[in-house]
């Protein structure tokens, strides 16, 4: 099967002169459409950089990323924005919600960008936010805020959902609920989901696992023993 997301020989440097560091040292990988891919690695191994390059918010110094056959490197700044608008959803460790908009309105911030959006009410019910739809972010718990952030990312029904340490700021129980939600969304809407995390246990819910170390792919394999997010333990 053709890879929907292709990463070819990605190289990325940070800094200059003597302090120049090669963060990505020629990463090559691919993810199939509709799969959940977990990128694992310890702090500083380059996983967030990889995610940012996939998301088109950072440029590689070598190699390329292609999504659905379109190479990101060939795109102008304007086209990249359009590309992100149409195809990508982003979830960060910190929720980055707009403080003076309600839950519904924060989700609508994502809906405004899409042409084939999900129904906001239905999505809020799926996310368990229906009761909180008229609250503003500082009236919500961390889990509720992160679910709102996911709602904002998923509502435009993106081809790929990029999650950068989505459970990083959450407790165990809330983290599990959130992972269940991502799994449910993947099954319901068929989006490709790339989750970057340092939590080893999360790999078990993935279709594909990529392990990074020092900017290189240490392992890239299909998870034959995939389990439901509800059964994850750590």
């Amino acid at each position: 099967m053709d890879k929907f997301l292709e990463i070819h020989d990605l190289v990325k440097y940070y800094g200059s002169g003597e302090s120049r560091v090669k963060v990505l040292q020629g990463i090559t990988a691919g993810v199939e459409k509709g799969h959940i891919c977990v990128v694992l690695g310890s702090s500083g191994c380059g996983k967030s950089t990889l995610l940012n390059i996939i998301g088109g918010i950072e440029k590689p110094d070598g190699g390329y990323v292609s999504i659905g056959g379109e190479k990101l490197a060939d795109m102008s700044e304007r086209k990249l924005t359009q590309y992100r608008r149409k195809h990508l959803g982003y979830v960060f460790q910190f929720y980055n919600l707009i403080p003076n908009l309600t839950v519904r309105e924060n989700i609508e911030v994502g809906a405004y960008l899409g042409s084939n959006t999900l129904d906001v009410d239905e999505l809020m019910k799926t996310l368990g936010l229906w009761e909180h739809r008229n609250k503003i972010p500082n009236q919500l718990s961390g889990g509720q805020q992160q679910r709102t952030a996911i709602g904002r990312a998923i509502v435009k029904n993106p081809d790929i959902l990029l999650c950068d340490e989505p459970t990083g700021a959450l407790d165990y129980k809330t983290s599990k609920e959130l992972l269940k939600l991502l799994e449910e969304l993947n099954q319901k809407y068929g989006n490709t989901i790339v989750i970057v995390t340092h939590n080893d246990a999360i790999k078990n819910m993935a279709d594909q696992i990529i392990k990074l170390r020092d900017g290189m792919v240490r392992k890239d394999y299909r998870n034959e023993q995939k389990i439901a997010a509800a059964d994850l333990e750590w």
Partner: protein, 758 residues
């Protein structure tokens, strides 16, 4: 999957909430923009309405293209040939100069029907014996109303009406006067019965002319006037000849109106630029606070343009509403106020409000363009960073900032405060700029009264003599102290401004009143300080003067500058004067004397220049602008407070989390205040002190430019006390605002540091 309806941009919903959240800031800026635009719109609308009335009055009231005075009245048909040949029409416009019982000069005319027709403001025109219609402005200045009695040379007249004479919109008694005088000079109308009894010896045989073609160009008008003068000079004895273009009583008003417009719109644009920077700086601060959100939105596909529009929308909406309401207030309430200021200076015909596209353009379009441009530039520059930089909250444009090293010898608190200053450099630069403009305005508001006082004092201290008699013909006096002198009025050739040319005896006792040295014996001249300052003439320079009514010109070498502030003047020895102007050896114009001459008959006296005439320019400025100066001063003080309030508030907001944290650590509210408010105090104090001399320098240039538009010259002067007052106003403004900010610091909760601690 349901196909949901298209969502409208939800960011719009933030705007109203943002407005409510920062209501104080928006109210203050709104008020400032509203007040400034209302003031300027009011001024411009009244200016344009009155200027339109003034411009239209030329045709509506058939205002002359010029006038001339003959020594004796012309016989019937005398002008027929001239009228036919030069295509002009000549009208009788005789007058007589009278004196009211309080010493005021009253120039009386016959009721006019054909030329320079008059406008009636109140009451009626005189219809019978003992009635007089006087100028409305003079009546206001002297408390005359319709029905009052005015005593002129022993005769009682009932004031039947208040009028405006269209050839005296500015009440210049003589065209050579530096400034008009609506307090001690009036024009008036008499009925035929009273006018006909004026003795021939007292009558001025003045004739006005109008060109048949009223649409001639300035050059054509000038040519026609020269032709008329040539025609007359061979046939009659001319005692006066004045084109409309040279007639201050007609032209001064129009020229003055335009000058004020440039000044006040510049004021508006300066205020709008300051407001635009305040908006831009506060928006930049919001962007910094919302960096992660912006990064997320950009990463999600929001374009830079969408975010740019979002962040500048509220400043633009607030400014637009302020501009529209400001215009409304200007057109309604303030128009009347500013019109009354003009009507308090000039004797204009009744006006109606003109809805002017120019005023709308100047008060609404250009200010909004300034605001949008500044905000677009600043905010778009801020948003130009990559989404990643926003996500990482790394908004420094120079990449990773180098931390400035501060010596550990400095006390901790000093280092802390310096860090606060470094962190807020753009805000403090805006504050500096704002204080500079506020100081400039404040200086303008409070310097003029001492400047005018200084002018009066120096004029009094350095006048040549108490009285300068100008005679119609050389007659002798028995007063041994009276000294003969020569006088001519020429034009400075490059600027066409009138210059008084004195021919004075090298032995003059009076000239010593203005200079320790006597007038030079040779062909060199002395010029007055004002003439030198206004047109930049220095010793050694050549000054070229020309005749008013011919192209003949004269050049002189400047020897020295003399301190004579009363007018633009040239002093030369009387011998050089007579040679230059081809006068007889014993010819003279009049007398310099410290006492009134009792043995010279009035019939021989053309005019007497007294102390009052020398300082009338200051009195008039005081009278017409006296109310405006305190308004500008008050406005500047408010601008001070606004600037300091807005920017210190911004600094506190930026540091709210740190302030909260210092409270958690155990700092008292007072100590926290010293950490975060003292840096602003330092910057305010330094800005106040540094901008004072800068404002004085800038003001000197602005003042010189302003004075160049006016006739005459008032020496630039800033009283030392003015600086002290400015400093005091600045410091008091700061303390008022900082008291509010201390309260604000006390209200920042400790939980702030623990919330959203990403």
């Amino acid at each position: 999957m349901n196909k949901p309806k298209k969502v409208r941009n939800p960011l719009r919903k933030r705007l109203f909430r943002e407005l409510l959240h920062d209501f104080g800031k928006y109210v203050v800026i709104f008020t400032f923009i509203f007040a400034t635009i209302a003031m300027v719109a009011g001024f411009l609308v009244s200016d344009i309405s009155l200027k339109t009335a003034y411009d239209e009055s030329f045709e509506e009231y058939n205002v002359e293209d010029g006038h001339f005075t003959l020594l004796t009245p012309a016989e019937d048909g005398f002008f027929d040939g001239m009228e036919r040949y030069y295509k002009v029409k000549v009208y009788e416009n005789f007058y007589a100069d009278r004196e009211a019982d309080d010493g005021d000069a009253v120039r009386v005319y016959r009721l006019r029907k054909d030329v320079n027709r008059t406008a009636l403001w109140e009451g009626d025109y005189p219809s019978g014996m003992g009635e007089i219609a006087i100028d409305r402005l003079y009546a206001e200045n002297n408390g005359y109303s319709v029905g009052d009695t005015m005593i002129i040379e022993g005769r009682r007249f009932r004031v039947s009406g208040l009028v405006a004479l269209t050839d005296y919109s500015a009440l210049f008694k003589n065209n050579t006067d530096m400034m008009f005088d609506a307090k001690q000079f009036t024009v008036a109308l008499l009925s035929d019965i009273d006018f006909d009894v004026i003795q021939p010896g007292e009558m001025k045989y003045c004739y006005s002319w109008t060109n048949d073609d009223r649409a001639l160009s300035a050059d054509e008008c000038k040519q026609k006037a020269e032709d008329i003068m040539d025609w007359l000079s061979g046939r009659a004895i001319l005692t006066d000849f004045l084109r409309r273009a040279d007639n201050q009583a007609i032209q001064f008003t129009g020229a003055d109106m335009g000058g004020d417009k440039a000044l006040i719109t510049t004021l508006l644009y300066v205020v709008m630029a300051v407001m635009a920077f305040i908006f831009a700086v506060t928006t930049s601060n919001t962007i910094e606070q919302e960096a992660a959100v912006i990064g997320t939105l950009r990463a999600s596909g929001y374009s830079r343009g969408e975010l740019l529009r979002h962040y500048i929308a509220l400043p633009i909406i607030v400014s637009m509403i302020a501009a529209v309401l400001g215009n409304l207030a200007g057109y309604t309430v303030l128009k009347k106020y500013f019109a009354s200021l003009y009507l308090h200076s000039y004797s204009l015909t009744p006006y109606h409000t003109v809805w002017s596209a120019e005023a709308f353009w100047l008060t609404t379009v250009i200010p909004l363009v300034i605001l949008v441009t500044v905000n677009l530039l600043v905010v778009s520059r801020k948003l130009r960073l990559s989404p990643l930089r926003f996500l990482r909250r790394d908004l420094s444009r120079r990449g990773r900032k180098r931390v400035m090293h501060l010596s550990h010898r400095l006390r901790f608190l000093s280092r802390f405060r310096l860090r606060v200053i470094f962190q807020n450099v753009p805000s403090y630069l805006t504050l500096f700029l704002g204080i500079f403009f506020a100081n400039l305005l404040l200086l303008f508001g409070i310097m003029m009264a001492p400047l005018l006082d200084n002018f009066r004092e120096t004029v009094m201290d350095s006048k040549i003599a108490n009285y300068q008699y100008i005679l119609k013909a050389p007659v002798s006096t028995s007063d041994a102290d009276a000294e003969q002198y020569c006088l001519n009025e020429l034009l400075d050739k490059p600027s066409k401004e009138e210059v008084m040319v004195y021919g004075i005896s090298p032995d003059s006792g009076y000239f010593r009143n203005i200079s320790e040295k006597s007038v030079p014996a040779g062909d060199e001249i002395l010029i007055s300080e004002g003439y030198s300052e206004k047109y930049g003439y220095l010793p050694g320079d050549e000054v070229t003067l020309k005749e008013k009514f011919s192209s003949k010109s004269y050049s002189f070498r400047v020897k020295e500058i003399v301190h004579y502030p009363a007018s633009l003047a040239v002093f030369m020895n009387d011998d050089l004067f007579r040679r230059t102007f081809d006068k007889d050896d014993d010819d003279f114009t009049g007398y310099l004397t410290d006492r009134r001459l009792t043995d010279v008959k009035d019939a021989y006296i053309a005019s007497v220049i007294t102390e009052h005439d020398l300082v009338v320019i200051a009195d008039q400025l005081d009278d017409s602008m006296g109310l405006v100066f305190p308004i500008i001063g008050g406005f500047a003080t408010l601008l001070y407070m606004l600037m300091i309030y807005m920017l210190s508030k911004l600094i506190l907001e930026k540091n709210a989390k740190s302030i909260s944290m210092t409270k958690i650590l155990g700092y008292s509210g007072r100590e926290t205040g010293r950490l975060y408010i003292s840096p602003t105090a330092w910057v305010v104090m330094i800005s106040l002190v540094v901008t004072l001399p800068l404002a004085a320098i800038a003001m000197r240039y602005i003042y010189n430019y302003y004075m160049l538009q006016m006739k005459g010259w008032l020496t630039f002067f800033i009283a030392p006390a003015t600086y002290a007052r400015m400093l005091l106003i600045g410091v008091v403004s700061y303390f008022v605002v900082s008291a509010v900010q201390y309260l604000r610091i006390r209200r920042i909760p400790m939980e702030q540091a623990l919330k959203n601690n990403e």
